[in-house]
């Protein structure tokens, strides 16, 4: 049985089912509120939801049992009395062991919890970074939306910020430095690109089997880093568009990545066809997979948090949700697909967890 947590404009949907079948909607929470992200921590089993209430603001909620009560986490806020307020939580990421989690949000903030997500503290080094006055939001805000922990080394993190580039820490967030070398922002004038920090990262994923390797979907470019995010190489050649939002990797194969390109202009899948593109050679070549996916008259978009996997290798399951309210899934590492759910509200996030 696989559990898929789907964050939508109108609440959190819990789907349960077997790969290759239509899943059952087994629960819905936070009706009427935007659930920007939801995930189950594989260590504790605790489920987290980043909810932006139209009335009461953004908040992280958690539940140890989906048949029980949700609790609001404490400390997910900016310093009181300042000039800004938290607008949204974009992502929640656990370390691979222990009780540490991180959460990223808008305006360009990172929170850390050391007690399984019950209480959180703002990362002051990033909040007070001297370059912050130069950071610029994109249309979605100034967002820490990608957090890539390093397995076995919780002090090493890479994060992605729209639109302030890639940031790296080797000391648990006490200090931060850029990891932007090689990224080309073709939305800037050519003579303004060198050293630019207003870099619109769309999503970042680390290959856990080779942690020095990262894949990144950029605002015009798909990139790979082989040196832990210090430098980047464009690997978009062969894709129908270098624009898109999510990236997923097969945890067993550091040469693997999956992307769902959309056109840069209208940001829907090209030619009315939904295709997931896979590389198994670190981006040298790309293979499209569309069997079981809509292949005509499709004009949907998949957001950066709305594509996820569970398992690995041949048993890798993949799931993605669209702004059309459909969820598609694959039980064979993306070779074939089926519709898992339809007619949900516009989907912001999808996370999957194979359950015993």
């Amino acid at each position: 049985m696989t559990e898929v947590l789907v964050g939508t404009r109108k609440g959190l949907f819990v789907l349960d089912g077997q790969p290759g079948s239509t899943f059952d909607i087994t629960a819905r929470f936070f009706e009427g509120e935007t659930v920007d992200y939801a995930m189950r921590d594989p260590r504790s089993g605790r489920v987290f939801a980043a909810v932006t209430s139209p009335f009461y603001g953004p908040r992280i909620w958690y539940a140890d049992d989906l048949s029980g009560e949700w609790e609001p986490a404490r400390g997910v806020a900016l310093p009181k009395g300042g000039d800004d307020a938290l607008r949204r939580i974009w992502v929640i990421a656990p370390a691979d062991e222990g009780t540490t989690l991180w959460a990223g949000g808008d305006p360009g903030v990172l929170f850390e919890s050391r007690d399984d997500g019950a209480t959180w503290a703002l990362n002051r080094a990033l909040w007070e970074h001297p370059t912050r006055p130069q950071w610029r939001p994109d249309s979605g805000g100034l967002s820490v939306h990608s957090i890539a922990p390093w397995p076995g080394h919780p002090e090493r993190l890479a994060i992605g910020i729209s639109a302030a580039g890639i940031w790296l820490t080797d000391d648990g967030g006490a200090t931060w430095r850029h990891g932007n070398a090689g990224i080309v922002a073709d939305y800037l004038p050519e003579d303004a690109r060198a050293g630019a920090i207003d870099l619109c990262v769309h999503h970042l994923e680390r290959a856990p089997a080779q942690p020095e390797r990262l894949f990144m979907q950029f605002h015009g470019g798909v990139y790979r880093s082989d040196d832990a995010g210090e430098t980047w190489t464009d690997i978009a050649a062969g894709l129908p568009s270098n624009f898109g939002f999510p990236v997923v990797v097969d945890p067993a194969d550091p040469d693997s990545a999956y992307v769902i390109p959309v056109t840069a202009g209208d940001r829907v899948v090209p030619d009315g066809r939904v295709l997931v593109w896979e590389t198994r050679d670190a981006g040298a070549t790309w293979t499209p997979h569309g069997e079981g996916l809509p292949q005509e008259d499709a004009y949907l978009q998949v957001l950066r948090q709305a594509f996820a996997g569970t398992g690995e290798g041949r048993d890798l399951e993949l799931y993605f949700g669209a702004n059309s309210g459909e969820v598609f899934g694959s039980g064979d590492a993306g070779q074939t697909w089926s519709t898992v759910a339809r007619r949900l509200p516009p989907i912001a996030s999808v996370r999957a967890d194979r359950r015993a």
Partner: protein
């Protein structure tokens, strides 16, 4: 002291619908409410101390802002705004 009336999740967080709070303005009263009921922190006022955009405040049935004066006999209602889609 003025009485603050809460509904929905705010009522649950504060442990009841009505609360007496000190203050001469809406802002002062809401800050006092937060101090008395820390679980409400961030729900009505954001980190800047600003009333959240889609929360409406009424003082004795009149629409109010953070600076509206509050008397000891006033009743302050906190309501979600008409919004959404």
């Amino acid at each position: 002291m003025a009485i603050v009336r809460l509904r929905g999740p705010l009522e649950k967080l504060a442990g009841g619908p009505e609360h007496e709070c000190e203050g001469t303005t809406v802002s002062e009263v809401l800050q006092a409410l937060e101090r008395e009921h820390t679980a409400l922190e961030g729900w009505i006022l954001d980190e800047r101390g600003v009333i959240r955009r889609h929360i409406n405040v009424f003082v004795s049935a009149e629409p109010a802002t953070a600076d509206t004066a509050v008397g000891t006999d006033d009743r302050i209602e906190i309501l979600p705004a008409i919004s959404g889609g």
